[in-house]
Amino acid sequence: MAVAMAQARSLRVRHARSAVGVVSTALCAGAAAAALLLILGYVVREGAASISIPFLTQVPHPVGIPGGGVANAIAGTGITVAIATLMAAPIGVLTGVYLAMYGRGAFASSIRFLSDVLAGVPSIAIGLFAYVVLVAPFKHFSAVSGSFAFAVLMLPVIIRTTEEAIRSVPVTIREGALALGLPVYATTVRVVIPAARAAIVTGLLLSIARVTGETAPLLFTAFGSQFWELNPRNPMAQLPLQIFNYAISPYPLWHEQAWGGALVLIVVVLVLNALARVALRSRTSR
Protein backbone atom coordinates (compact mmCIF):
# COMPACT_ATOMS: atom_id res chain seq x y z
CA MET A 1 0.00 0.00 0.00
CA ALA A 2 2.69 2.42 1.05
CA VAL A 3 4.74 1.37 -1.92
CA ALA A 4 1.86 2.03 -4.28
CA MET A 5 1.33 5.49 -2.81
CA ALA A 6 5.02 6.32 -3.05
CA GLN A 7 4.96 5.24 -6.66
CA ALA A 8 1.90 7.35 -7.40
CA ARG A 9 3.58 10.35 -5.78
CA SER A 10 6.79 9.92 -7.74
CA LEU A 11 4.71 9.59 -10.91
CA ARG A 12 2.94 12.88 -10.11
CA VAL A 13 6.28 14.58 -9.46
CA ARG A 14 7.61 13.29 -12.75
CA HIS A 15 4.57 14.47 -14.67
CA ALA A 16 4.83 17.89 -13.05
CA ARG A 17 8.49 18.16 -13.94
CA SER A 18 7.75 17.08 -17.44
CA ALA A 19 4.99 19.68 -17.78
CA VAL A 20 7.30 22.43 -16.50
CA GLY A 21 9.90 21.36 -19.03
CA VAL A 22 7.51 21.30 -21.97
CA VAL A 23 5.96 24.67 -21.10
CA SER A 24 9.26 26.49 -20.50
CA THR A 25 10.93 25.20 -23.66
CA ALA A 26 7.81 25.96 -25.71
CA LEU A 27 7.70 29.52 -24.31
CA CYS A 28 11.33 30.11 -25.24
CA ALA A 29 10.80 28.69 -28.71
CA GLY A 30 7.78 30.96 -29.10
CA ALA A 31 9.80 33.99 -27.96
CA ALA A 32 12.55 33.22 -30.47
CA ALA A 33 10.07 32.79 -33.30
CA ALA A 34 8.24 35.97 -32.24
CA ALA A 35 11.47 37.99 -32.39
CA LEU A 36 12.12 36.77 -35.92
CA LEU A 37 8.57 37.41 -37.04
CA LEU A 38 8.55 40.90 -35.48
CA ILE A 39 11.72 41.88 -37.36
CA LEU A 40 10.38 40.44 -40.59
CA GLY A 41 6.98 42.07 -40.13
CA TYR A 42 8.46 45.46 -39.27
CA VAL A 43 10.80 45.45 -42.28
CA VAL A 44 7.94 44.44 -44.55
CA ARG A 45 5.69 47.18 -43.12
CA GLU A 46 8.30 49.91 -43.50
CA GLY A 47 9.88 48.69 -46.69
CA ALA A 48 7.01 47.40 -48.80
CA ALA A 49 5.98 50.90 -49.84
CA SER A 50 9.36 51.53 -51.46
CA ILE A 51 9.37 48.36 -53.51
CA SER A 52 8.51 49.09 -57.11
CA ILE A 53 9.84 48.30 -60.56
CA PRO A 54 11.84 51.58 -60.72
CA PHE A 55 13.26 50.90 -57.25
CA LEU A 56 14.63 47.59 -58.46
CA THR A 57 15.80 48.84 -61.88
CA GLN A 58 17.15 52.37 -61.35
CA VAL A 59 20.30 53.80 -59.84
CA PRO A 60 20.01 56.29 -56.97
CA HIS A 61 18.82 59.79 -57.81
CA PRO A 62 20.68 62.82 -56.46
CA VAL A 63 19.50 64.21 -53.17
CA GLY A 64 16.18 66.01 -53.43
CA ILE A 65 15.04 64.35 -56.62
CA PRO A 66 12.33 61.76 -55.88
CA GLY A 67 12.53 58.19 -57.17
CA GLY A 68 15.68 56.29 -57.91
CA GLY A 69 16.50 52.80 -56.80
CA VAL A 70 19.07 50.29 -55.71
CA ALA A 71 19.64 48.35 -58.94
CA ASN A 72 23.36 49.14 -58.88
CA ALA A 73 23.61 47.98 -55.26
CA ILE A 74 21.83 44.72 -56.02
CA ALA A 75 24.15 44.09 -58.97
CA GLY A 76 27.21 45.09 -56.90
CA THR A 77 26.33 42.74 -54.06
CA GLY A 78 25.71 39.96 -56.57
CA ILE A 79 29.07 40.47 -58.30
CA THR A 80 31.01 40.83 -55.05
CA VAL A 81 29.48 37.72 -53.53
CA ALA A 82 29.93 35.73 -56.74
CA ILE A 83 33.65 36.53 -56.91
CA ALA A 84 33.99 35.73 -53.21
CA THR A 85 32.34 32.35 -53.81
CA LEU A 86 34.71 31.60 -56.69
CA MET A 87 37.63 32.37 -54.37
CA ALA A 88 36.42 30.55 -51.26
CA ALA A 89 34.55 27.51 -52.61
CA PRO A 90 37.46 25.55 -54.15
CA ILE A 91 39.83 26.19 -51.24
CA GLY A 92 37.16 25.60 -48.62
CA VAL A 93 35.75 22.42 -50.16
CA LEU A 94 39.17 20.88 -50.79
CA THR A 95 40.29 21.76 -47.26
CA GLY A 96 37.13 20.14 -45.89
CA VAL A 97 37.77 17.01 -47.96
CA TYR A 98 41.35 16.86 -46.69
CA LEU A 99 40.29 17.22 -43.06
CA ALA A 100 37.59 14.58 -43.40
CA MET A 101 39.67 12.01 -45.25
CA TYR A 102 43.15 12.51 -43.85
CA GLY A 103 42.64 14.88 -40.94
CA ARG A 104 44.20 13.06 -37.98
CA GLY A 105 47.68 14.53 -37.54
CA ALA A 106 48.96 17.69 -35.92
CA PHE A 107 48.81 19.55 -39.23
CA ALA A 108 45.12 18.84 -39.67
CA SER A 109 44.39 19.69 -36.04
CA SER A 110 46.05 23.08 -36.42
CA ILE A 111 44.08 23.75 -39.64
CA ARG A 112 40.87 22.91 -37.84
CA PHE A 113 41.85 25.15 -34.92
CA LEU A 114 42.79 28.06 -37.19
CA SER A 115 39.54 27.66 -39.09
CA ASP A 116 37.57 27.82 -35.84
CA VAL A 117 39.51 30.91 -34.77
CA LEU A 118 38.88 32.50 -38.15
CA ALA A 119 35.15 31.89 -37.72
CA GLY A 120 35.28 34.00 -34.56
CA VAL A 121 37.25 36.95 -35.94
CA PRO A 122 35.05 40.06 -36.17
CA SER A 123 34.17 40.80 -39.77
CA ILE A 124 35.41 44.38 -39.49
CA ALA A 125 38.88 43.07 -38.62
CA ILE A 126 38.79 40.93 -41.75
CA GLY A 127 37.75 44.03 -43.69
CA LEU A 128 40.76 45.86 -42.28
CA PHE A 129 42.98 42.99 -43.33
CA ALA A 130 41.58 43.14 -46.87
CA TYR A 131 42.18 46.91 -46.83
CA VAL A 132 45.82 46.46 -45.85
CA VAL A 133 46.40 43.73 -48.45
CA LEU A 134 44.35 44.84 -51.44
CA VAL A 135 43.37 48.49 -51.03
CA ALA A 136 46.21 50.41 -49.40
CA PRO A 137 48.98 49.12 -51.74
CA PHE A 138 46.96 50.21 -54.81
CA LYS A 139 45.52 53.34 -53.21
CA HIS A 140 42.18 52.36 -54.73
CA PHE A 141 38.98 50.90 -53.30
CA SER A 142 37.67 47.93 -55.26
CA ALA A 143 34.86 45.40 -55.22
CA VAL A 144 37.38 42.61 -55.50
CA SER A 145 38.94 43.58 -52.18
CA GLY A 146 35.46 43.27 -50.69
CA SER A 147 35.16 39.86 -52.33
CA PHE A 148 38.44 38.87 -50.72
CA ALA A 149 37.16 39.88 -47.29
CA PHE A 150 33.96 37.92 -47.93
CA ALA A 151 35.94 34.89 -49.06
CA VAL A 152 37.89 34.90 -45.79
CA LEU A 153 34.60 35.06 -43.90
CA MET A 154 33.13 32.20 -45.93
CA LEU A 155 36.10 29.86 -45.60
CA PRO A 156 35.51 28.55 -42.07
CA VAL A 157 31.84 27.90 -42.80
CA ILE A 158 32.62 26.00 -46.00
CA ILE A 159 35.47 24.04 -44.43
CA ARG A 160 33.40 22.95 -41.46
CA THR A 161 30.26 22.01 -43.40
CA THR A 162 32.26 20.14 -46.06
CA GLU A 163 34.16 18.16 -43.44
CA GLU A 164 30.90 17.28 -41.69
CA ALA A 165 29.26 16.37 -45.01
CA ILE A 166 32.06 13.99 -45.99
CA ARG A 167 32.22 12.47 -42.53
CA SER A 168 28.50 11.76 -42.57
CA VAL A 169 28.84 9.55 -45.65
CA PRO A 170 28.50 6.03 -44.20
CA VAL A 171 31.76 4.08 -44.04
CA THR A 172 29.93 1.20 -45.78
CA ILE A 173 29.64 3.35 -48.93
CA ARG A 174 33.37 4.02 -48.92
CA GLU A 175 34.21 0.38 -48.21
CA GLY A 176 31.76 -0.72 -50.89
CA ALA A 177 33.68 1.31 -53.44
CA LEU A 178 37.07 0.09 -52.23
CA ALA A 179 35.84 -3.52 -52.26
CA LEU A 180 35.00 -3.12 -55.96
CA GLY A 181 38.68 -2.61 -56.61
CA LEU A 182 38.38 1.15 -57.01
CA PRO A 183 41.50 3.14 -56.15
CA VAL A 184 41.27 5.55 -53.23
CA TYR A 185 41.19 8.49 -55.63
CA ALA A 186 38.17 7.18 -57.58
CA THR A 187 36.47 6.18 -54.34
CA THR A 188 36.85 9.69 -52.95
CA VAL A 189 36.12 11.73 -56.04
CA ARG A 190 33.47 9.60 -57.73
CA VAL A 191 31.64 8.00 -54.83
CA VAL A 192 32.22 9.69 -51.46
CA ILE A 193 32.16 13.35 -52.54
CA PRO A 194 29.06 12.90 -54.75
CA ALA A 195 27.32 11.20 -51.84
CA ALA A 196 28.08 14.31 -49.76
CA ARG A 197 27.30 16.75 -52.56
CA ALA A 198 23.92 17.93 -51.31
CA ALA A 199 25.29 18.74 -47.87
CA ILE A 200 28.34 20.47 -49.39
CA VAL A 201 26.10 22.63 -51.60
CA THR A 202 24.00 23.43 -48.56
CA GLY A 203 27.12 24.65 -46.76
CA LEU A 204 28.09 26.80 -49.72
CA LEU A 205 24.65 28.40 -49.87
CA LEU A 206 24.68 29.06 -46.13
CA SER A 207 28.12 30.68 -46.38
CA ILE A 208 26.82 32.87 -49.23
CA ALA A 209 23.78 33.82 -47.18
CA ARG A 210 26.07 34.61 -44.28
CA VAL A 211 28.19 37.18 -46.16
CA THR A 212 25.44 38.68 -48.33
CA GLY A 213 24.23 40.77 -45.43
CA GLU A 214 27.68 41.75 -44.15
CA THR A 215 28.36 45.48 -44.05
CA ALA A 216 31.48 46.06 -41.99
CA PRO A 217 34.03 44.37 -44.30
CA LEU A 218 32.80 46.51 -47.21
CA LEU A 219 33.26 49.90 -45.54
CA PHE A 220 36.88 50.28 -46.60
CA THR A 221 37.05 47.77 -49.44
CA ALA A 222 34.16 47.88 -51.95
CA PHE A 223 33.36 51.30 -50.45
CA GLY A 224 30.04 51.81 -52.29
CA SER A 225 29.00 53.98 -55.21
CA GLN A 226 26.02 55.97 -56.41
CA PHE A 227 26.53 54.92 -60.02
CA TRP A 228 26.38 51.86 -62.26
CA GLU A 229 29.69 50.13 -61.80
CA LEU A 230 30.31 46.59 -62.95
CA ASN A 231 34.11 46.53 -62.99
CA PRO A 232 35.25 44.68 -59.87
CA ARG A 233 38.49 46.65 -59.82
CA ASN A 234 36.56 49.82 -59.01
CA PRO A 235 34.52 50.84 -55.97
CA MET A 236 31.07 49.34 -56.35
CA ALA A 237 27.64 49.91 -54.84
CA GLN A 238 26.64 47.33 -52.22
CA LEU A 239 23.17 46.74 -50.86
CA PRO A 240 24.15 46.68 -47.16
CA LEU A 241 26.30 49.81 -47.59
CA GLN A 242 23.48 51.55 -49.40
CA ILE A 243 21.11 50.74 -46.56
CA PHE A 244 23.66 52.02 -44.05
CA ASN A 245 24.30 55.26 -45.91
CA TYR A 246 20.62 55.94 -46.50
CA ALA A 247 19.69 55.11 -42.93
CA ILE A 248 22.15 57.61 -41.42
CA SER A 249 21.23 60.33 -43.92
CA PRO A 250 18.95 63.19 -42.86
CA TYR A 251 16.47 62.71 -45.72
CA PRO A 252 13.10 60.99 -45.09
CA LEU A 253 13.00 59.70 -48.70
CA TRP A 254 16.31 57.92 -48.22
CA HIS A 255 15.07 56.47 -44.92
CA GLU A 256 12.17 54.88 -46.80
CA GLN A 257 14.54 53.55 -49.41
CA ALA A 258 16.79 52.13 -46.69
CA TRP A 259 13.81 50.09 -45.45
CA GLY A 260 13.11 49.01 -49.01
CA GLY A 261 16.74 47.92 -49.45
CA ALA A 262 16.62 46.03 -46.15
CA LEU A 263 13.53 44.19 -47.34
CA VAL A 264 15.26 43.21 -50.59
CA LEU A 265 18.30 42.00 -48.65
CA ILE A 266 16.23 39.95 -46.22
CA VAL A 267 14.30 38.36 -49.07
CA VAL A 268 17.56 37.44 -50.85
CA VAL A 269 19.02 35.85 -47.71
CA LEU A 270 15.76 34.01 -46.99
CA VAL A 271 15.70 32.63 -50.53
CA LEU A 272 19.31 31.46 -50.16
CA ASN A 273 18.45 29.71 -46.91
CA ALA A 274 15.39 28.12 -48.49
CA LEU A 275 17.51 26.91 -51.42
CA ALA A 276 19.96 25.40 -48.94
CA ARG A 277 17.12 23.41 -47.37
CA VAL A 278 15.85 22.27 -50.75
CA ALA A 279 19.35 21.18 -51.75
CA LEU A 280 19.68 19.10 -48.61
CA ARG A 281 16.26 17.52 -49.00
CA SER A 282 16.67 16.62 -52.68
CA ARG A 283 19.49 14.25 -51.70
CA THR A 284 17.35 11.13 -51.56
CA SER A 285 14.54 12.05 -53.93
CA ARG A 286 14.49 11.25 -57.64
Partner: protein, 278 residues
Protein backbone atom coordinates in the same frame (compact mmCIF):
# COMPACT_ATOMS: atom_id res chain seq x y z
CA UNK B 1 32.57 -33.79 -69.74
CA UNK B 2 32.26 -36.71 -67.39
CA UNK B 3 34.90 -35.59 -64.95
CA UNK B 4 33.63 -34.86 -61.46
CA UNK B 5 35.33 -31.48 -61.63
CA UNK B 6 32.86 -30.23 -64.23
CA UNK B 7 29.47 -29.90 -62.61
CA UNK B 8 26.59 -29.31 -64.98
CA UNK B 9 26.00 -25.60 -65.11
CA UNK B 10 22.66 -23.90 -65.63
CA UNK B 11 24.46 -20.73 -66.64
CA UNK B 12 26.18 -20.41 -69.99
CA UNK B 13 29.90 -19.84 -69.84
CA UNK B 14 30.92 -16.25 -69.39
CA UNK B 15 34.25 -14.46 -69.41
CA UNK B 16 36.05 -15.22 -66.20
CA UNK B 17 34.22 -18.48 -65.69
CA UNK B 18 37.20 -20.69 -66.39
CA UNK B 19 39.42 -18.57 -64.21
CA UNK B 20 36.89 -18.71 -61.41
CA UNK B 21 36.54 -22.45 -61.70
CA UNK B 22 40.18 -22.88 -60.76
CA UNK B 23 40.16 -20.26 -58.05
CA UNK B 24 41.61 -21.46 -54.85
CA UNK B 25 41.99 -19.32 -51.78
CA UNK B 26 44.28 -20.54 -49.01
CA UNK B 27 44.74 -18.93 -45.65
CA UNK B 28 47.96 -19.64 -43.77
CA UNK B 29 48.40 -18.49 -40.20
CA UNK B 30 46.35 -15.32 -40.53
CA UNK B 31 46.17 -13.01 -37.55
CA UNK B 32 44.49 -9.62 -37.47
CA UNK B 33 44.41 -6.77 -34.96
CA UNK B 34 42.62 -3.50 -34.39
CA UNK B 35 44.92 -0.94 -32.79
CA UNK B 36 47.26 -3.64 -31.47
CA UNK B 37 44.32 -5.58 -29.99
CA UNK B 38 44.27 -8.96 -31.70
CA UNK B 39 40.89 -10.02 -33.11
CA UNK B 40 41.82 -13.33 -34.72
CA UNK B 41 44.89 -15.49 -34.37
CA UNK B 42 46.58 -18.17 -36.41
CA UNK B 43 43.73 -19.13 -38.75
CA UNK B 44 44.58 -21.55 -41.55
CA UNK B 45 42.17 -23.11 -44.03
CA UNK B 46 41.62 -23.78 -47.74
CA UNK B 47 38.57 -22.52 -49.60
CA UNK B 48 37.52 -24.76 -52.46
CA UNK B 49 36.51 -23.42 -55.86
CA UNK B 50 32.83 -23.62 -56.88
CA UNK B 51 31.89 -24.12 -53.29
CA UNK B 52 29.97 -22.18 -50.69
CA UNK B 53 31.97 -22.03 -47.48
CA UNK B 54 30.17 -20.75 -44.39
CA UNK B 55 31.97 -19.01 -41.53
CA UNK B 56 29.94 -19.48 -38.36
CA UNK B 57 30.45 -18.70 -34.71
CA UNK B 58 29.09 -16.47 -31.94
CA UNK B 59 29.31 -12.68 -32.05
CA UNK B 60 32.83 -11.38 -31.62
CA UNK B 61 34.51 -14.59 -32.77
CA UNK B 62 36.27 -12.78 -35.60
CA UNK B 63 34.50 -14.32 -38.59
CA UNK B 64 33.84 -10.95 -40.21
CA UNK B 65 37.43 -9.90 -39.49
CA UNK B 66 38.67 -13.05 -41.20
CA UNK B 67 36.44 -12.34 -44.19
CA UNK B 68 37.74 -8.76 -44.39
CA UNK B 69 41.32 -10.05 -44.44
CA UNK B 70 40.59 -12.06 -47.57
CA UNK B 71 40.22 -9.04 -49.88
CA UNK B 72 42.50 -6.70 -47.92
CA UNK B 73 39.61 -4.47 -46.86
CA UNK B 74 40.52 -5.04 -43.20
CA UNK B 75 43.53 -2.78 -43.50
CA UNK B 76 41.32 0.11 -44.62
CA UNK B 77 40.19 0.52 -41.02
CA UNK B 78 42.46 2.85 -39.08
CA UNK B 79 44.92 0.99 -36.88
CA UNK B 80 44.08 -2.41 -38.37
CA UNK B 81 46.93 -4.78 -39.13
CA UNK B 82 47.23 -8.25 -40.66
CA UNK B 83 49.90 -10.92 -40.44
CA UNK B 84 50.19 -14.25 -42.20
CA UNK B 85 49.58 -15.36 -45.75
CA UNK B 86 46.51 -15.44 -48.00
CA UNK B 87 47.15 -17.19 -51.29
CA UNK B 88 44.98 -16.68 -54.34
CA UNK B 89 45.95 -19.29 -56.93
CA UNK B 90 49.29 -19.70 -55.24
CA UNK B 91 50.09 -16.01 -55.04
CA UNK B 92 50.29 -14.33 -51.64
CA UNK B 93 48.00 -11.28 -51.75
CA UNK B 94 49.91 -9.82 -48.81
CA UNK B 95 53.31 -10.11 -50.49
CA UNK B 96 55.19 -6.82 -50.76
CA UNK B 97 54.42 -5.08 -54.02
CA UNK B 98 50.95 -6.59 -54.44
CA UNK B 99 48.40 -3.84 -55.09
CA UNK B 100 45.35 -4.22 -52.82
CA UNK B 101 43.25 -2.57 -55.53
CA UNK B 102 44.09 -5.41 -57.93
CA UNK B 103 43.34 -7.99 -55.22
CA UNK B 104 39.91 -6.48 -54.57
CA UNK B 105 39.02 -6.68 -58.24
CA UNK B 106 39.63 -10.42 -58.16
CA UNK B 107 37.87 -10.98 -54.84
CA UNK B 108 34.47 -9.33 -54.69
CA UNK B 109 32.56 -8.49 -51.54
CA UNK B 110 28.94 -8.05 -50.49
CA UNK B 111 28.29 -6.30 -47.21
CA UNK B 112 25.88 -6.87 -44.36
CA UNK B 113 23.74 -3.86 -45.19
CA UNK B 114 22.96 -3.10 -48.83
CA UNK B 115 25.19 -0.17 -49.82
CA UNK B 116 24.27 1.02 -53.31
CA UNK B 117 26.03 4.28 -54.17
CA UNK B 118 23.37 6.85 -53.29
CA UNK B 119 23.94 9.29 -56.16
CA UNK B 120 24.01 6.69 -58.92
CA UNK B 121 21.31 5.08 -61.02
CA UNK B 122 20.75 1.34 -60.96
CA UNK B 123 22.72 1.04 -64.21
CA UNK B 124 25.63 3.15 -62.96
CA UNK B 125 25.72 1.21 -59.70
CA UNK B 126 26.12 -2.09 -61.53
CA UNK B 127 28.98 -0.87 -63.72
CA UNK B 128 30.62 1.36 -61.09
CA UNK B 129 33.59 -0.97 -60.60
CA UNK B 130 34.35 -0.77 -64.33
CA UNK B 131 33.15 2.72 -65.18
CA UNK B 132 35.08 4.53 -62.46
CA UNK B 133 38.39 3.12 -63.61
CA UNK B 134 37.70 4.24 -67.18
CA UNK B 135 36.25 1.05 -68.65
CA UNK B 136 32.77 0.41 -69.99
CA UNK B 137 32.20 3.93 -71.30
CA UNK B 138 29.36 3.56 -73.79
CA UNK B 139 25.77 3.01 -72.87
CA UNK B 140 25.61 -0.19 -74.91
CA UNK B 141 28.65 -1.58 -73.08
CA UNK B 142 27.03 -0.65 -69.77
CA UNK B 143 23.77 -2.31 -70.76
CA UNK B 144 25.55 -5.46 -71.78
CA UNK B 145 27.36 -5.78 -68.45
CA UNK B 146 24.23 -4.78 -66.55
CA UNK B 147 22.00 -7.35 -68.22
CA UNK B 148 24.53 -10.14 -67.72
CA UNK B 149 25.21 -9.43 -64.05
CA UNK B 150 21.66 -8.45 -63.12
CA UNK B 151 20.44 -11.74 -64.63
CA UNK B 152 23.05 -13.57 -62.57
CA UNK B 153 21.82 -11.72 -59.51
CA UNK B 154 18.19 -12.61 -60.36
CA UNK B 155 17.25 -8.94 -60.48
CA UNK B 156 17.07 -8.20 -64.20
CA UNK B 157 13.35 -8.78 -64.67
CA UNK B 158 12.51 -6.49 -61.77
CA UNK B 159 14.65 -3.53 -62.86
CA UNK B 160 15.12 -3.78 -66.63
CA UNK B 161 12.54 -1.03 -67.26
CA UNK B 162 13.92 1.41 -64.69
CA UNK B 163 17.68 1.18 -65.00
CA UNK B 164 18.00 4.96 -64.79
CA UNK B 165 16.18 5.23 -61.48
CA UNK B 166 18.21 5.73 -58.33
CA UNK B 167 19.62 2.60 -56.71
CA UNK B 168 17.98 3.77 -53.50
CA UNK B 169 14.53 3.48 -55.06
CA UNK B 170 14.72 -0.31 -54.72
CA UNK B 171 13.64 -2.38 -51.72
CA UNK B 172 16.28 -3.63 -49.30
CA UNK B 173 16.35 -7.12 -50.83
CA UNK B 174 16.59 -5.68 -54.35
CA UNK B 175 19.35 -3.32 -53.23
CA UNK B 176 21.31 -6.27 -51.87
CA UNK B 177 20.96 -8.15 -55.17
CA UNK B 178 22.01 -4.95 -56.94
CA UNK B 179 25.14 -4.95 -54.78
CA UNK B 180 25.75 -8.58 -55.72
CA UNK B 181 25.42 -7.70 -59.42
CA UNK B 182 27.81 -4.80 -58.86
CA UNK B 183 30.34 -7.12 -57.23
CA UNK B 184 30.03 -9.59 -60.14
CA UNK B 185 30.54 -6.92 -62.81
CA UNK B 186 34.30 -6.79 -62.28
CA UNK B 187 34.39 -10.57 -62.91
CA UNK B 188 35.89 -11.61 -59.60
CA UNK B 189 37.03 -15.16 -58.92
CA UNK B 190 35.87 -15.30 -55.32
CA UNK B 191 32.81 -13.69 -53.74
CA UNK B 192 32.88 -12.73 -50.05
CA UNK B 193 29.53 -12.20 -48.35
CA UNK B 194 29.26 -10.69 -44.87
CA UNK B 195 25.90 -11.77 -43.46
CA UNK B 196 24.30 -10.73 -46.73
CA UNK B 197 20.75 -11.51 -45.65
CA UNK B 198 20.77 -10.47 -41.99
CA UNK B 199 19.15 -7.10 -42.75
CA UNK B 200 16.50 -8.61 -45.06
CA UNK B 201 13.05 -10.11 -44.72
CA UNK B 202 12.54 -13.91 -45.07
CA UNK B 203 11.49 -13.79 -48.74
CA UNK B 204 14.50 -11.68 -49.73
CA UNK B 205 16.66 -13.97 -47.62
CA UNK B 206 15.43 -17.01 -49.55
CA UNK B 207 16.24 -15.24 -52.83
CA UNK B 208 19.75 -14.44 -51.69
CA UNK B 209 20.27 -18.03 -50.55
CA UNK B 210 19.07 -19.40 -53.91
CA UNK B 211 21.43 -16.97 -55.54
CA UNK B 212 24.39 -18.26 -53.54
CA UNK B 213 23.66 -21.78 -54.71
CA UNK B 214 23.47 -20.66 -58.34
CA UNK B 215 26.58 -18.51 -58.14
CA UNK B 216 28.54 -21.35 -56.55
CA UNK B 217 28.39 -23.08 -59.93
CA UNK B 218 30.94 -20.52 -61.00
CA UNK B 219 32.51 -18.78 -58.03
CA UNK B 220 34.03 -19.71 -54.73
CA UNK B 221 31.67 -18.13 -52.21
CA UNK B 222 32.65 -17.45 -48.62
CA UNK B 223 29.74 -16.35 -46.47
CA UNK B 224 29.69 -15.16 -42.89
CA UNK B 225 26.44 -16.01 -41.17
CA UNK B 226 24.92 -15.92 -37.70
CA UNK B 227 22.25 -18.28 -38.83
CA UNK B 228 23.18 -21.93 -38.55
CA UNK B 229 20.16 -23.09 -40.54
CA UNK B 230 21.33 -20.84 -43.32
CA UNK B 231 24.84 -22.28 -43.15
CA UNK B 232 23.37 -25.77 -43.31
CA UNK B 233 21.13 -24.87 -46.25
CA UNK B 234 23.58 -23.09 -48.52
CA UNK B 235 27.08 -24.25 -47.75
CA UNK B 236 29.09 -27.33 -48.59
CA UNK B 237 31.91 -26.46 -46.23
CA UNK B 238 31.73 -24.83 -42.83
CA UNK B 239 34.32 -23.23 -40.60
CA UNK B 240 33.45 -22.75 -36.95
CA UNK B 241 35.24 -19.97 -35.10
CA UNK B 242 35.24 -19.10 -31.45
CA UNK B 243 36.82 -16.38 -29.35
CA UNK B 244 39.07 -18.15 -26.88
CA UNK B 245 41.32 -16.67 -24.24
CA UNK B 246 41.69 -12.87 -24.31
CA UNK B 247 38.69 -12.74 -26.66
CA UNK B 248 40.84 -13.59 -29.68
CA UNK B 249 39.03 -15.50 -32.40
CA UNK B 250 40.39 -18.86 -33.48
CA UNK B 251 39.37 -21.50 -35.96
CA UNK B 252 37.97 -24.44 -34.03
CA UNK B 253 36.79 -26.79 -36.73
CA UNK B 254 36.59 -26.83 -40.49
CA UNK B 255 35.09 -29.48 -42.74
CA UNK B 256 32.20 -30.52 -44.93
CA UNK B 257 29.00 -28.89 -43.67
CA UNK B 258 27.08 -32.16 -43.33
CA UNK B 259 29.83 -33.66 -41.21
CA UNK B 260 30.38 -30.62 -39.05
CA UNK B 261 26.70 -30.36 -38.22
CA UNK B 262 26.05 -34.06 -37.65
CA UNK B 263 29.35 -35.36 -36.30
CA UNK B 264 31.34 -32.43 -34.94
CA UNK B 265 34.82 -33.46 -33.86
CA UNK B 266 35.27 -30.73 -31.31
CA UNK B 267 33.24 -30.50 -28.13
CA UNK B 268 32.94 -26.69 -28.52
CA UNK B 269 31.49 -27.07 -32.01
CA UNK B 270 28.93 -29.49 -30.70
CA UNK B 271 28.00 -27.12 -27.86
CA UNK B 272 27.53 -24.27 -30.30
CA UNK B 273 25.47 -26.06 -32.91
CA UNK B 274 23.26 -27.64 -30.30
CA UNK B 275 22.60 -24.17 -28.94
CA UNK B 276 24.37 -24.51 -25.60
CA UNK B 277 25.94 -21.07 -26.02
CA UNK B 278 26.22 -18.19 -28.48
Amino acid sequence: MTSIDAPTSTIPDEPGATRAAKAQLSVRGIGASYRKRPAIRNVSLDFKPRTVTALIGPSGCGKTTLLRCLNRIHEVTRGATVEGVVELEGQNIYAPGVDPVAVRRRIGMVFQRPNPFPTMSILDNVVAGLRLVGECRTRSAKLEVAERTLRLAALWDEVKDKLDRSGLSLSGGQQQRLCIARALATEPEVLLMDEPASALDPISTAKIEDLMTTLAERYAIIVVTHNMQQAARVSQETAFMLAGEEAVGELIEFGPTAELFTRPKDRRTEDYITGRFG
